[in-house]
Structures are given as C-alpha cells and as structure tokens.
C-alpha cells in the first residue's frame, strides 16, 4: 500500500476529491479521524461540501447526434454518505466507520457525470461503464487515465443561489413543490433554502421534499433505456432528510445544494403517480382517511396473493391485490410492510444473474423511502405509497423477465446445502456466514442463514455480520444504501414473514454484481482503524 505523507487537512482532502485522487482522498479522510482526531461528522460535512458544486447535470437525458436520447446517471456520492451515516449507528464501534470510508473512496469517482459519459473527465462511469480509455486512448499515458487524477477542473452546472424568504410558509411550500414538478430548479432550490432556515418549517419541508421525490417515478423500465429515474428522486430526498438531521440543518447547506436542484431535473415522470391517483379516487375515495395501522393484520393467504401479484403478475394484478387490502380494512403501513416482505421472494427464489439485482434493489430502496415517509409524517396522499412501491417492484421484475433467462448463471438451490448448514453448531455459524458472503457463494450463504434463522431467535449479530461483509466491496454506494434500507425495514416490519427480509438480504449481499473484485478500500480502512473482530 502506498503511504501518503504530509499533514492531513480538510483543504488537502478537498483538493484530492476535486482532483479525482480517490486513494489519496481516502487516506486523508482516515488520517483526519485517526491522526488529527477531527470529529467524523465534520469531515463528512466537508467531503460533501467539496463535491457539492460538481454533482449536478444539465439533464438526465443526453441528446445524441443521431437524435436519439441516452440516460445520464444520478449523483451517487450523497447516497453513499446517507448509507454510511445510517450504518454508523447500525454496525457500531470502529467497524461502523467502514461504510464511511467506502463512501469517501467513491466520492472523487462520482463527480461530473455528464463529462464522464462523454469521456472528458475521469471517474467510475468513464472508466467502467463507458470504457473511455479504449474509446479515446492517450498513447502518452500509462494505464487507465480515466481512473484519475483529473486533468481539468470539474465543471459546475448549477451555481449556488440565495434563498427566497418572501411569502407565507404555505405559499412557499406550494410553489416549491410545483417548481420541482415543473423543472424550475432555481426557484425550487431558493425556496427550499429559505424555508429550511426556520426550524419551525422543517418537518413540513421534509414531508414536502419526500413527497416530491416519491411522486416522480417512471411507469415502466421495459424497453425505455434512459427515460427513467429508477427511484433516484425519492432516494435523494431521503438522503437529504437523513443527512440534514445528522449534520444539523444549520450545517446542511451543501447537502441541500447537492440534492434539491436535481429533484427538478429532467426527465420528470408523473404518469404512474397520475394513474395511482385516479385508481384510488375511483376505488377508495376516502383514501386520505385510511388508518396507518389496523387491528386486521395481513393473513398468510393475503401475503401469498400479494407475492404472486408482485413477483409473477402484471400491474393490474398488483393494483387489485392492494385495493382489496384497503377495502377490507388494512392500514397503510400494514400494506407497505406486506409489499416489502412479499418482494423478498423475488430476491430469495428467482434472482440468479448478479447483474439483474440492480433495478429491483433500487425499487427496494424506493420502498424504504416510501415507508419512512409513511412512518414519520402525516400526508393525505400516503395511501398511494404502497401502490407506487409495489408497482415499481413489479415493473423491475417484469423488466428483467423481458430477457430470456441466462442458463450460465443458474444457481444451485440453497436447500442442497441445508444438511451441511444444519451440521454447523449455531454458535459457530456467524464467521462461516461471513466467509461465504465474502466468497459470494450465495447457495451456501443462504443455506446457512436459513439454518440460523430456524435454530435461534438471535438476529442482531446475524444482520451485523451480513452488513459488514457486504461493505467490504468498493466503488459502489448502492451497497451501503441497500444495507440501510434492509436493516431499517427489518426492524419495523410487523408481518409474520419479516425474517424473509434477512433471507433476501443475505442472497442480495452474496450475489449482487460487484464493481471491483479487490478490497483496496477495506485494506486502507483496516490499516488506519484496526477494527477488532466481531
């Protein structure tokens, strides 16, 4: 491992981030904590601030010279931080810092996405997805120049702005929501800044920004290419709420700058929201008054029907199953708990190809945002949340199923290893589970988890082991985000099948495609923090 010398400072970390020197930036980040004894929270704030001006794009659609469109990805740096901060509390101790180190490792690689796509700036999109080094080779450069450092400063597409503070709170909230929907990014951002200043507005502001994110979702991914956002508007809104609460809203300017302008970025997709609004208006006209929880929990038969609809059915099957739940008196959170747990059967039983986890697990994260919104806020539209989440899940499943299954990626059935797993003493299983998650051996990892769940009621350490193992892989903030969604939903789910969330989680973390086969970032973490064994 290369040793980086000189004093670790925030200025140095900022330069390294903006210069796409991700290894150095991560070293500096670690040294700020371990050598300089700076509080982690403050360093995270500075890392977010260093990236904030450079994460916006002019549009999430790029018009090609042919006249066709391609998608432009969403900033993921802030999603890594949201997952990392959440996992700080979930994992605990020194080990809990690993996700933050992973988030830092990713940040310099995730700037200037627009330029990365056209091979004018280094980072993980240019290096991995676009393979720019092959497209625009430089004979004077050894290795992959799109791995960094940058040869040009990153570009700013959205300048910071002043807050708007005129008008009543109600008027400004209304105007802000409309500005996001209409794509008036300047106005939306300025209104948000003004509203965020007063602590008295913040709960309503959080509700409004989550709502704006949740309602912007594509109808379908099938054959749509880039005309989608796969839940990113909602997931970003949740990141804003979580990180602003963590840092303190008075320290959250750069988080707001990172997230809010993008919520109004093109494309803005409200077709599914419109459909669900119409369906509920027709079938459940008093949906605004539905209870969050009822005394009529879902039966096994209802869970089976909803599973069938989400995993194997079509959009109208999903609508029908959920409408029946409301009509017989289920609460909104009851329905949403059921949606989350029924979807797990897809992860557990159906998914095989490592690349095909991506869209469905975005739907899982989106569902977590919806459930967080329902749990923590009161909004007359919340009855629509389970429909949005379930339809998104169903669509990602159908979108995967529009391609013939690839026999080369067939998984051995987990039950083939049941007897083997049952032969291991329960008190010795956790290290074996960690070993098989790290080996990406899904059949054995899942058989071990099945056996563990059957033989003990202990869950906390099991979740900790899966999460920590999952966070070993670098370059991918989805991992931290997916982990925090699964852990949070497991904790709050009230269905009798909540252990399926752990089964799905284990499969996901032991099979999902990895962006890098090496653990360089983990090794940097170990060198600086010397985490103790679990």
């Amino acid at each position: 491992m290369t040793l980086y010398r000189g004093i670790a400072s925030i200025d140095r970390m900022r330069e390294e981030i903006q210069g796409v020197r991700y290894r150095e930036a991560t070293e500096t980040f670690c040294r700020l904590v371990t050598d300089e004894k700076k509080p982690l929270k403050g360093i995270i704030k500075e890392a977010i601030a260093a990236a904030a001006p450079f994460v916006q794009v002019p549009s999430h659609l790029m018009r090609l010279p042919t006249g066709e469109m391609r998608g432009v990805n969403y900033d993921h740096t802030i999603l890594g931080w949201r997952g990392a901060v959440s996992l700080l509390e979930e994992i605990g101790g020194t080990r809990g810092i690993l996700p933050s180190v992973q988030a830092m490792w990713y940040v310099p690689q995730g700037l200037n996405i627009w330029e990365q796509i056209i091979c004018e700036f280094p980072g993980h999109y240019a290096r991995d997805a676009e393979k720019c080094n092959a497209k625009v080779p430089d004979p004077h450069h050894e290795g992959d120049r799109f791995d960094g450092p940058a040869w040009t400063p990153p570009k700013i597409y959205f300048e910071d702005q002043d807050p708007i503070e005129t008008g009543s709170v109600e008027e400004r909230l209304e105007r802000m929501s409309w500005a996001i929907s209409e794509g008036e990014r300047d106005e939306a951002y300025r209104l948000f800044l003004g509203l965020a200043k007063d602590p008295a507005n913040r709960e309503r502001l959080k509700d409004a920004i989550l709502f704006s994110g949740i309602i912007d979702l594509q109808d379908t991914l099938i054959n749509r290419g880039g005309y989608q956002n796969i839940g990113h508007k909602a997931i970003r809104a949740r990141a804003l709420v979580h990180l602003a609460d963590y840092l303190g809203w008075e320290n959250a300017h750069e988080v707001i700058y990172t997230v809010v302008p993008d919520l109004g970025c093109a494309p803005r997709l409200h077709g599914l929201w419109t459909e669900i609004s119409n369906v509920l208006r027709m079938e459940v006209p008093k949906s605004a008054t539905l209870p969050k929880r009822s005394d009529k929990p879902l039966t096994e038969a209802e869970l089976d029907r909803l599973t069938e609809a989400i995993v194997w059915g079509g959009p109208f099957d999903v609508n029908s199953a959920l409408l029946d739940l409301y009509k017989r008196g289920a609460g909104i959170q009851d329905a949403m708990d059921a949606v989350f747990v029924c979807f797990q059967r897809y992860l557990i039983d159906v998914l095989e190809h490592p690349s095909l986890f991506s869209h469905p697990t975005h739907a899982l994260d989106y569902a977590n945002v919806v459930q967080h919104w329902i749990r923590n806020f009161d909004n007359p539209h919340q009855a629509k949340g389970p429909f949005m989440a379930a339809r998104f899940m169903n669509d990602t499943i159908r979108s995967n199923a529009i391609y013939p299954r690839d026999a080369k990626f067939t998984l051995e059935p987990r039950k083939a290893y049941k007897a083997w797993a049952d032969g291991i003493a329960v008190d010795r299983m956790l290290p074996v589970i960690e070993e098989h998650v790290l080996a990406q051996d899904a059949p054995r990892a899942c058989a071990l988890v099945d056996s563990y769940l059957e033989r003990t009621s202990e869950r906390r350490q099991l979740l900790d082991v899966i999460t920590y193992a999952g966070c070993h892989w670098q370059n991918d903030p989805h991992v931290m985000r997916n982990c925090s969604s699964s852990l949070e939903e497991y904790r709050s789910n009230r269905t009798p099948r909540r252990d399926d969330i752990i089964r799905g989680y284990a499969k996901h973390q032991s099979r999902y495609i990895k962006r890098a086969p090496t653990h360089d970032c983990y090794n940097v973490f170990v060198a600086h923090f010397q985490p103790t064994a679990h």
């Binding site: 079509g314 199923a401 529009i402 013939p404 026999a407 067939t410």
Partner: protein, 125 residues
C-alpha cells in the same frame, strides 16, 4: 370458496382435465418441433427478443422451450441454432448459453419421467 368434499372432487377433476389438455398440446408441439427446420426454429426463438416479445409472460416460456428442444431435437440441430445466434453477438448471449451442450446435458440429466406419467416432468411457465 369453502372447501367441501364435493368441490374438492370438482377442482381435482378440473385439474385433471387441464393436465389432459396440456398433454395433448405437448404432443402436438413435439410433432411440430421435430418436423421444424433450423430456420423455423430460429424464427421461433427470435420472438424472444425484448423488442418482439409480447411481454414477460411470453419470455418466461423460454426455459420450457429450451427444455423441449433438448429433449426432442438432436445435438446437431441445437449446435446449428447456437451458431446462428452466436453470430449475432452479445444481445443473444443468454440464448446461446441455453443452447450450449453443457446446458443440454444438465437439462437431460434433470428431467424425470415417473412410471405413471405420460410425459417427462417438463417445466410449465
């Protein structure tokens, strides 16, 4: 529907009729697949392209089709089909992989035909 002795019998008879219908359909498909040329089979498989598929429900029948091809056609035909789709590049990789001899061997080894069954235990999707 509350389960009674009589409607248990009714649903079992409906199930048996469906199985009979399916078995007859399988017999006809078998004859047509056995008589098809490589070009006919290529056209049939092309319908599984995402842009041509009538939906996920149809695409999910790809595995049952592959199973039947390996049982009802010879290795040379499957190799010829694989060669056609291999030429078309990456988008057809999953089709090519389904037509590889190792996949055929796995399918043939896994199929079982109990003494009481008219047909092997094919997948139904």
């Amino acid at each position: 529907m509350p389960m009674t002795k009589s409607n248990l019998g009714d649903v079992w008879r409906v199930r048996n009729a469906a199985a009979q219908t399916l078995a007859l359909a399988e017999e006809q498909v078998k004859r047509v697949i056995q008589a098809a040329t490589v070009d006919d089979l290529v056209r049939m498989i092309e319908a599984y392209a995402p842009a041509l598929s009538t939906g996920p429900e149809f695409t999910r029948t790809f595995d049952p089709l592959v199973e039947r091809l390996w049982v009802w056609r010879d290795d040379e035909t499957l190799a010829a089909l694989a060669a056609v789709f291999r030429e078309r590049g990456m988008p057809w990789a999953s089709v090519v992989n389904a037509l590889l001899p190792e996949n055929g061997a796995a399918i043939r080894a896994a199929l079982r035909q109990p003494a009481w069954a008219r047909l092997p235990a094919f997948a139904v999707a």
